[in-house]
């Protein structure tokens, strides 16, 4: 099975399992580990005696994880067949970069554009405020505003689509 971490895709294979003792290979390297869950989402892993901890939070479908381990944070995805297909599609989608997504919960302070406006790379499309700080979101390439899904004063969630763009 493939597991994606950051930009790396690793091939993971479970070789055997006896209670908490698990043998698996990652990109051909074999690991014999003693793994246990300390509490929900927190794992203790002993790899030849070396003690590692990992805390993870799951996405709703249990396929995407945010993992903290030893002062590093990782985004990990389990790639099953469905995810593989979606990933291929997303690769294409992403290149178009045709929407502006709120990276955090916040409040829309201003939208200095309207539908049909033509923007140049670097122009501000929307300003969001969260925790006493205002953040301007700029477009990454020349484009036209296709649709605006929010209004000034709206509260928005993380990952909410705010504006659809038409790339020029």
């Amino acid at each position: 099975m493939e597991v994606q971490i950051g930009n790396r895709v690793a091939e993971v294979e479970l070789i055997s399992k006896e209670g908490n003792f698990v043998c698996l290979s990652i990109d051909g390297e074999q690991y014999e580990i003693d793994i246990t869950m300390l509490e929900d989402g927190v794992y203790s892993i002993l790899n030849n005696g070396k003690s590692y901890n990992a805390e993870l939070t799951r996405s709703d479908d249990n396929k995407e994880y945010k993992v903290n381990a030893a002062f590093s944070s990782y985004d990990v995805k389990i790639i099953d067949e469905k995810a593989k297909y979606l990933r291929m599609r997303k690769d294409t989608d992403d290149r178009q970069d045709n929407k502006i997504i709120s990276p955090m919960p916040g409040k829309i302070v201003s939208i200095p554009v309207k539908v049909g406006d033509t923007l140049s790379k670097g122009d501000t499309a929307i300003v969001i405020e969260a925790m006493k700080m205002q953040n301007s979101f700029k477009v990454a390439s020349d484009c036209t505003i296709r649709e605006i899904l929010v209004a000034e004063g709206d509260a928005v969630n993380a990952n909410q689509v705010l504006i659809h763009l038409e790339l020029n």
Partner: protein
């Protein structure tokens, strides 16, 4: 312990977050009952359920709740509050609020409205300090009226200069000007920022002090004319004029300089009849010349490092002073012991330009053990609202000396585990690894100078750690598959699922 009859038996804390909880702690220890106020967005915030009583004062936006003077005064009167503690930020330096408390016969825990006005306006503060023989940075003693005047004054003083909002604070309304061409933009921007942030657009100009240290002295004054200083805090590690890490003692100043600056700090406070806890901020240049910068007429975010080094509870002292008691310490009793460092833990994405990262805290495992103090308002299951400051806790360590304190920071940062929201913990870890910090050789240019180093860079030895992250995720995924394929779970706890899974013997095929 004392014959003094306490007037203060019930305190309203006109604040939220970690500082509201921290103030309530000292109140509870003094058997003073605590009244919280909260906005509609803060019903589940810790200060609400930690207090003895709690009342909603308005909507989420600060101006409708935590800055809503009349609503707060109403609650205080209705519930027979003896005194109000303003914390820091919000109304803590608002002299109108002080007056309103006075009018209603409520004790304001802090200096008088007059003192606050004298020191709150930076131009007025400069004038008072010059009169009291406290050194100030060369600059104008009055507000600027036009772009033309600004250009003229800047040219007179010589570049670089700092343009500052008279009512400013927290890094807002401040601009560094390197040459004449930058004056106009800086002047107009600072004015508009100051107007929107502080309701006043007066700005003035000061000489820019090169390679400066930001060093502040804690002072305490009572209502009987006594003022002492509680030594210094080194606050030079700042990003965009926001403090990130503070320590005490300062690795930069000498015993002789400490004595001199302390004396000037006391003079400064006496000049304005200061009562309560306050802070005199100084800029110290590389030749150890020091200049009065401003006075904060309230408790500081970084007050705990002073408490740890001196063994004094500043909030208790504030309350005792407000209650009319004389200072319980004399200057000669004030002896620094060991070394303390504070880190501000914020819900922000350090890899994405420190964008705020509000959200639901899933795990919140705080470091404990010898020499650690956490002043926090976070708890597991708490959803950090989007309306307020991203600081969720302060991590303070104390140790016998600076080296041991830094060693301790490494240990406690390793123990501190927060999931669900992004924090700056990894970024702070990188700061304390920079050799200039370890050697105590830094000034306010630290973050600028080391910006590159502080970026998160994947190292060559990452693969091992990545593989651990992969293993944890992969195993978690498998357990959840297992669970969905069986339905004999009478107990749905994830750890139990894990244990059942652990009991499977033999080879498992996926």
């Amino acid at each position: 312990m004392q014959a003094h009859m306490r007037k203060i038996k019930k305190v309203l804390i006109a604040n939220r977050g970690e500082i509201a909880v921290r103030i309530m702690r000292s109140c509870k220890e003094m058997r003073i009952s605590t009244v919280a106020i909260f906005s509609e967005a803060d019903r589940t915030a810790k200060h609400v359920w930690y207090a003895d009583e709690a009342y909603c004062v308005g909507e989420a936006a600060s101006k409708d709740s935590y800055l809503n003077i009349e609503r707060i005064i109403d609650v205080a009167k209705k519930h027979n509050v003896d005194a109000v503690h303003p914390g820091y930020g919000f109304l803590s330096e608002n002299s109108h609020f002080v007056q309103r408390c006075n009018e209603e016969g409520i004790i304001f825990i802090g200096p008088s409205a007059e003192t606050m006005d004298m020191m709150g306006d930076k131009i007025s503060a400069r004038k008072h300090m010059i009169k009291a023989d406290v050194p100030v940075v060369p600059g104008t003693e009055k507000g600027l009226n036009s772009v033309e005047e600004a250009i003229e004054v800047c040219n007179q003083i010589g570049y670089p200069v700092m343009l500052k909002a008279s009512m400013g604070g927290g890094g807002k309304g401040i601009r560094l000007i390197q040459n004449e061409t930058e004056v106009k933009d800086a002047y107009l921007n600072a004015k508009s920022e100051s107007l929107s942030s502080f309701g006043d657009d007066t700005v003035y100009i000061e000489k820019f002090v090169e390679e400066p240290h930001h060093i502040e002295f804690q002072i305490l004054g009572d209502n009987h004319g006594n003022v002492i200083h509680l030594c210094e805090r080194e606050c030079s590690i700042q990003r965009r004029n926001q403090k990130i890490l503070e320590e005490s003692p300062s690795p930069f100043i000498t015993d002789e300089l400490r004595k001199q600056m302390g004396e000037k700090a006391v003079m400064a406070a006496k000049a304005v009849n200061y009562s309560g806890a306050g802070t005199i901020e100084f800029l110290v240049d590389k030749h150890r010349n020091f200049y009065f910068l401003e006075m904060n007429t309230r408790l500081q975010v970084e007050h705990p490092i002073t408490e740890e080094v001196l063994g004094i509870d500043l909030v208790k002292e504030q309350i005792k002073i407000a209650d009319g008691m004389p200072l319980s310490h004399r200057q000669e009793d004030i002896v620094q012991r060991g070394h303390a460092i504070e880190l501000r833990i914020c819900a922000e994405d350090a890899d994405m330009n420190f964008m705020p990262a509000p959200g639901l805290i899933k795990k919140n495992l705080e470091p404990t053990g010898i020499g650690v103090r956490i002043d926090s308002y976070a708890y597991e299951g708490y959803e950090i609202p989007i309306y307020y400051d991203p600081m969720i806790s302060k991590l303070i360590v104390w140790a016998t000396n600076r080296t041991y304190a830094i060693d301790r920071l490494h240990r406690v940062l390793e123990e501190y585990k927060i999931t669900g929201v992004k924090t700056n913990i990894n970024y702070l870890k990188r700061i304390i690894e920079v050799p200039d910090f370890v050697n105590g050789k830094y000034d306010t240019g630290f973050i600028g100078k080391h910006g590159e180093e502080l970026q998160n860079k994947g190292s060559q030895t990452e693969t091992e750690k990545e593989n651990i992250a992969i293993i944890a995720s992969y195993m978690d995924y498998i357990i959840n598959l297992e669970e969905n394929s069986s339905n004999d779970n009478n107990d749905n706890r994830p750890t139990n699922r894990w244990r059942n899974f652990g009991l499977h013997k033999g080879v498992l095929r996926i």
